[in-house]
Symmetry: C2
Subunit: 193 residues, 2 copies
């Protein structure tokens, strides 16, 4: 594993997605790996840490998650803009070489049988919390976070470092039609009275 990647305490894992970035969702089952993009995700609980993500029923990744019961969420960077859009607009079902064509490089983390996307700023390993109604009626998948890591050049000591890091590390926030915004300026609210 890259020497810059460090574990994030599970009680701080929500901070990795609290600012609403578009994420990459990856999964593995039966010898197949896949990766998709998902703008519709957010934290769901602090303790135990849970998150949720909307996965269209057409996606290959959803099928892998339903069968394996595990998935990873990761936070892509400005340097991965083309990769993020490519995995979000191509389909494994019709393009067997989707991952290679999207320039996705995968790596492993000990103790988690999941494909993690190299070059991201943060990673969350999740165990699916099965909820048939949410999955069937809303395409909504809930994950219990079982591990979290970040690249310390982007997130360290429990805090994002966007204001200090190379701008290539900024998170991506999707709108529509290939149009994203990068995360911007840090702001501290005045202390409450």
């Amino acid at each position: 594993m890259d020497r810059h990647i460090a574990p994030v305490p599970l009680d701080k894992a929500y901070r990795l997605i609290n600012h609403g970035p578009t994420v990459l969702v990856s999964a593995r089952h039966g010898g197949m790996d896949n990766v998709m993009a998902a703008a519709w995700n957010c934290a769901l609980d602090f303790d135990p840490p849970k998150l949720m993500v909307v996965l269209d029923r057409e996606t290959t990744t959803r099928g892998l998650i339903e069968r394996s019961g595990t998935f990873a969420l990761q936070v892509p960077t400005v340097a991965q803009l083309a990769l993020t859009h490519a995995v979000g607009t191509s389909h494994r079902a019709t393009e067997a070489d989707k991952l290679a064509r999207s320039d996705v490089e995968l790596f492993g983390i000990d103790g988690h049988d999941l494909p993690f996307v190299a070059g991201c700023s943060a990673w969350l390993a999740c165990r699916l919390v099965p909820e048939p109604h949410n999955q069937d009626a809303h395409d909504l998948f809930i994950g219990m976070v079982t591990g979290a890591w970040a690249d310390t050049r982007a997130f360290a000591d429990g805090h994002w470092r966007f204001e200090h890091a190379d701008p290539a590390w900024r998170s991506l926030h999707y709108i529509a039609g290939g149009h994203f915004y990068a995360i911007g300026e840090a702001m501290d609210a005045p202390a409450a009275e």
Copy 2:
């Protein structure tokens, strides 16, 4: 209603929150209005447009929503940083003058019996889709979007205008402990092959 506020077609309403901003949630019941902040929200469906938001059971706003069956989501701006943090950290139950102390000004929109927060960049009126399991087990509330509006200085013709607007219109993305990021630079992904 302010002359800058224009309706947003419901099929584009998801774009108002797709980039993951922290939102203000407001509700009205029995002569009481309240407003809270919520980082944990995202779109859930395009058609009909639905969204979801996590509302702690301690909040007064949640009780108003459970009783009225309606709520509004709105997107606060950098100009509302102090307001957003104030309504997110004070409690109506113990501070009857919470809204006044937080400098919240409310306004109405014809056809929707809801308190909308003035000065935001976008507003979504929602009808609660009752789901007792999600509400009880996950504090998760699903809304059907019944109306959407934006300030045309920040969002017009179906697109955010952050790159052209005054920086005070940027959306806020909460991390923790009073620390936010504003949304940043616009980025267009290269067209897929």
